[in-house]
Symmetry: C2
Subunit: 352 residues, 2 copies
């Protein structure tokens, strides 16, 4: 057994593997258009938007760049709280896109409060819902509300890379105008697709630019079940198959993911480990390394049991380790992983 416990890519859903074993479809044919439209309709339901979801062939970073460049024109002022590697990336992309980006820095693991973003004079706010690098979850509805009270005309863009299908998400109901995600996290598919969800309000205010990233061009094509450029149609089929299976029992699925991640924290805290995030996302459990124990030692103890975990990123490199059950794991597999984690901790921690 391979235990892929990284916070994405994750263990594939059996429906994804099944879809990927089918013969190749040509994207400009009726069967492919049907798959594409089905995936988009299911994604709209998953993101909870009355707007549109565009499927892009590329990583989540491509979707992030597409969101920023199509929502804001160069010179516009955006607020970017930075509390992990992915919010740092939002900031870098905003700069590269020529925006006047103001950053608010937080120690990795902490999260911004509504009062922090209640500042006037901005065209936009960029937030990461679930900060995969620290395991922290922000209160997206409260932050959007506070920011929009100060900036009623502004747009809120959110990274939902590890919240989609892992925690409750919504666009309009959360006051979020545009959001992005990818195929290799809560969707339990291989990497290769990024998604940009656009609320009706965002659709009215698109400022398209770029060539491959031009979302107005994608919108025209995708409304007809095609895409501007050759899509990774096999992956689109996998996404549709997984969503078709998971969405009808989404509540139970989200409860399972929350319980599984809670179980990981329970084990770690039971052994005295200190969690990284101030507010916990169900996508990943992040712990500071026990005093005097190097990351390589922890990684190796997991590897000896067939498990692959993740270390820290950016300033947390060499300081933390991360485990995730976001992939296609059921209740009993999670209990198996909890046992594995206990074994590892018993082995590496000094007997007290």
């Amino acid at each position: 057994m391979d235990w892929l416990l990284t916070p994405g890519p994750v263990r594939l859903h059996p429906k994804a593997l099944e879809a990927l074993s089918r013969p190749q479809l040509h994207h400009r044919t009726a069967p492919a258009r049907e798959v594409f439209l089905k995936a988009r309709a299911l994604l709209k339901a998953a993101f909870r938007t009355e707007g549109e979801v565009l499927i892009l062939t590329g990583s989540g970073t491509l979707a992030m760049e597409a969101l920023v460049k199509n929502l804001f024109a160069p010179g516009e002022r955006v607020l970017v709280p930075v509390y992990g590697k992915f919010s740092e990336r939002f900031y870098e992309i905003a700069l590269e896109a020529g925006l006047e980006a103001h950053r608010l820095d937080y120690p990795y693991g902490q999260v911004p409060s509504p009062a922090d973003v209640a500042r006037e004079g901005y065209a936009g706010l960029l937030l990461v819902h679930s900060e995969t690098s620290t395991g922290a979850l922000v209160d997206l509805p409260a932050l959007s509300r506070a920011f929009k009270e100060a900036n009623p005309d502004a747009l809120v863009g959110a990274d939902m890379v590890t919240s989609l299908l892992v925690w409750e998400v919504a666009l309009e109901a959360y006051g979020v105008d545009a959001a992005l995600s990818g195929s290799q996290k809560g969707l339990m598919c291989p990497p290769g697709l990024g998604f940009v969800a656009l609320s009706p309000r965002a659709l009215e205010r698109l400022k398209p630019r770029g060539y491959y990233l031009d979302l107005s061009r994608e919108l025209r094509a995708q409304r007809e079940g095609e895409s501007a450029w050759t899509p990774a149609i096999n992956l689109v089929g996998a996404v549709a198959a997984v969503l078709e299976e998971v969405l009808p029992r989404l509540e139970a699925h989200l409860s399972l993911k929350a319980w599984q991640n809670g179980l990981l924290y329970e084990v770690g805290e039971g052994f005295g480990l200190r969690p990284v995030p101030e507010v916990r996302s169900p996508a990943v459990a992040a712990f500071y390394l026990p005093e005097g124990i190097a990351y390589a030692r922890v990684k190796e103890a997991f590897a000896q049991r067939g498990a692959v975990i993740a270390g820290g990123q950016g300033p947390l490199k060499g300081k933390i380790f991360r485990l995730s059950l976001m992939g296609a794991y059921d209740r009993y597999e999670a209990l198996g992983v909890a046992a594995l984690f206990r074994e590892v901790l018993s082995e590496i921690l000094p007997a007290s």
Copy 2:
């Protein structure tokens, strides 16, 4: 039997399907780095360059945009002969990239001659090797040579989307400085990866820009077997598996592809059909529709036999049809397709 006869996506190689059925790898682990480095080394051999090949997650269009934006700065003068839909795209991308792009127009199906591109005063020439939209092949070495005699310092960029693994390609030996391709054509894998091959000369002269498209950032990561952004690692595995199978017997493979495409032309011409291209690429056979017969009728006759073909694009829409055996078809399957094609033509052509 599904006969996917479109000029990409194509019927998958069995090694690609096998690779895609494996459990998910995390891209920042040793087994994934090994796959990534193997794919890059095999791609270098396939493109015949001593430089580097970068694997991008996205379509061929993304790779085209990356090539143009990283090779030329805004304001630089480039020459773009336009003789089909994909050379038209090169021109559009050059404009969007802020280059001073000069187009040379040809009726679709014709190709530029060396004399046409022997014009001074350019920083670059952009050429499509095999114009999938018309079935035409250009003489890349002769065109590069003529252009560089007039512009010794200039760079030549080539679209090798449907020539890689279908016809002989080379970078340095052809005088080409950078080339692009994709996974879903001669490589017989699903769509989702674009490649940018850079000669040693191009590597020295990179002018990186953009975020997702910044090739200098990719170069740093890919030299270590990683990528700047989460790659479609499953597809990278498929590409490595197919190349490992095909490259050791490349000459026989190219002969087979040439023979198969010749067979399609033989059948069509035997029934009096008029080929579209002036010079034929082995990637696709393109024919004008017989007088008085609509594309829908031809498409339907193929569909009744389980075959999917392609129509015309741009100005050729409704005027031509295209068939391809670029996918994983052996000699006998090609003979079966020839029989199928004959049946179709016997059915749709008026008895004479």
